[in-house]
Amino acid sequence: MKTDRLIAFFFTVSMLASFGLIAVYVFEGDAQLEGTFLGVALSGLGIGFVLWAATLHTEPVTEEREHPDDVEGGDVELDAEPLTRRAMLWKLLAGAGGALAAALAIPALSLGPRPGESLFKTAWTPGARLVDTDGNPLKVTDIAPGTVQTVFPEGQVDAADAQTLILRVDPNLLELPSDRVAWAPEGVVGYSKICTHAGCPVGLYRAESHELLCPCHQSTFDVLRGAEPTFGPADRPLPQLPIEIDSEGYLVATGDFSEPVGPGFWNLDSDG
C-alpha cells in the first residue's frame, strides 16, 4: 500500500532525527540544531499517526447520550482488526518512539559532570602549607601534643575534599607503614577527615587511646597505626597526608593523600 510506505518513511525520518538529536547533544549541542531535530522527530511521528488514522476506515458508531455511567465495561467490543495487520509499521513506530525517548532522556546528563579524575585527587599539592580554618599557616610549634585540628591547603580553605585532621602524638608510639615513616615529622600526623565508610567528618578524637571516631556510624580508626579501622563499618584506613617541615618551620604537604579520600566506589583502586 502506498500510504503504508509513506507512514514508514515518516517514522524513519523521525527516528533518524532523534539519532541526530542525540549526536548534537553529545557533541557540544546547538540550540538551532536541537530544535530542528526535535521538531522533525516529533512531527515525523505525528504525520505518521495522522496518515495511519486516515487508513483505518472505521465505521461511525452510535452511543446513547443519556446515563453514560450506567454502561458497564465489558460489553463494548474493541475492533482491533485494522491495527493488527501492519507488523512492519508497529516495529518502525517502536523504533522511532524509542529513539525519541532516548533523545529526550539524554539531557539528564546535563545534571552533573563526569566524575573523571575528581574523585582521585584533592587540592593538596607538593609544598602546600597547612592552614587552619581561618587560613593561618601553621608551624610545627603551633601544634601542641594531645591536640587535634582541622587543616586545609593554603588558599583552599573551602576545598571540602581536602579537609585534614592533624594530630601530634609521641613519635615513639607511632607505628606507621614502613613507607610512611617520614610522613609524620615530630609526631605530627595528618589524616583525611572524611570517613572512608559514608563520608562524614571523623570529628571525634579520643586522646588517651589515640583513636578517631566517626559520629555517624561509629567507625573507629587507630591514629598510631596509619588510621587502620578498629571498629564499626569502615573497612579502609583514612588516607594519610604526607607532611614535612619546611625551612621556616611551617608544616607543608609533600603531595596528595596516600589513597583517594572519602567513601568507596568501584574503581577506587585504579589509577583514575
Partner: protein, 245 residues
C-alpha cells in the same frame, strides 16, 4: 531545699568538721592532704604509680579541674571520671592545687598550665558558636547534652559545667578529651557559648532531651500516632454512645 539535701549538707558539715576539730592546732598543708587522699594512686611527690599517672608536670589547671568538679579522688582507677560533689572544701582544694603545681621535677621544668582567667565581658557569642560546632559538637553534641565517644568513653553533658570548668577542660584535655590550643579570646567565646546553651530557653516548646531525631521519633509514635490510634478505636468502637447496632 529538700529535706534530703538539708540532711546531706548537715552530714557533710559534720564530716568536714570532724577532722578539723582533731587537728585544730595545725591546719593540714596541701602536701598532707595530697598524701592522705591522692598519693595512694599518684605516688609520693606525685611521681605516679601503676594506678595513677604522674602529676609532676600536670599543673594547676588540671588539679583544679579534677578536684573542683569532684572527678578526683577516684575510687576505681579504671572508671571514667565523672562530675561529683567535690570531696574537699575550696580552701583545701586551693592548698592541694598549689602543692601539685609545685611538683615539677626540676626548677627549669614547666609545671603545666596555670588556672586560666575567664572573662566573659565583651566576648562575641557567635565566635563561640563557630568554635563550638567546629571542635566540641562532634562529641558533646550541638546542644551540649553529651554523647557517646566510643569504647565506653562518654562525652559528658556540659549543662552543669561552670565557666572555669569549660575553660580548664579545653586546656588540659581531661581523660579521653583532646587538648585545644585556643587563644584566650577563643576560649572565652566558647565558654560563653556553653553558658548560653545552659541558660537559653527552647523557643519551640519542650526540648525532649535536645539530642535530635531519636526522641522526636519516640514522641511521634507514642504521642502522635499513639493518641490518634486511640482516637480511631474510640470512633470505631461502641464505647462512645450506644449506637444502633
Amino acid at each position: 531545699m529538700t529535706p534530703a539535701r538539708v540532711f546531706g549538707l548537715a552530714l557533710l558539715v559534720v564530716l568536714l568538721a570532724a577532722p578539723a576539730a582533731v587537728s585544730q592546732e595545725s591546719e593540714p598543708s596541701g602536701q598532707d592532704l595530697f598524701e592522705e587522699s591522692c598519693a595512694s594512686c599518684h605516688g609520693i611527690d606525685g611521681r605516679g604509680t601503676e594506678y595513677g599517672p604522674s602529676l609532676q608536670n600536670s599543673g594547676a589547671a588540671a588539679a583544679d579541674f579534677e578536684l573542683r568538679t569532684g572527678r578526683m579522688p577516684l575510687h576505681d582507677p579504671d572508671a571514667q571520671t565523672v562530675r561529683k560533689p567535690p570531696a574537699f572544701s575550696n580552701d583545701e582544694i586551693d592548698l592541694i592545687v598549689a602543692y601539685v603545681a609545685s611538683l615539677a621535677p626540676g626548677p627549669s621544668d614547666s609545671a603545666g598550665e596555670p588556672i586560666p582567667e575567664v572573662d566573659l565581658s565583651g566576648v562575641v557569642l557567635s565566635d563561640g558558636q563557630e568554635i563550638y560546632t567546629e571542635n566540641c559538637a562532634a562529641c558533646h553534641g550541638a546542644t551540649a547534652n553529651g554523647g557517646a565517644a566510643g569504647a565506653g568513653a562518654l562525652a559528658p553533658s556540659l549543662h552543669l559545667a561552670l565557666p572555669l570548668d569549660v575553660a580548664e577542660a579545653t586546656i588540659i584535655g581531661p581523660g579521653e578529651m583532646p587538648k585545644f590550643s585556643f587563644d584566650e579570646a577563643e576560649r572565652n567565646a566558647v565558654v560563653a557559648y556553653v553558658r548560653y546553651l545552659q541558660t537559653e530557653d527552647a523557643p519551640g516548646g519542650a526540648d525532649i532531651g535536645g539530642i535530635g531525631p531519636v526522641p522526636e521519633g519516640f514522641v511521634a509514635w507514642l504521642v502522635g500516632i499513639g493518641s490518634l490510634t486511640v482516637a480511631c478505636w474510640l470512633i470505631g468502637s461502641k464505647v462512645l454512645g450506644k449506637g444502633e447496632g
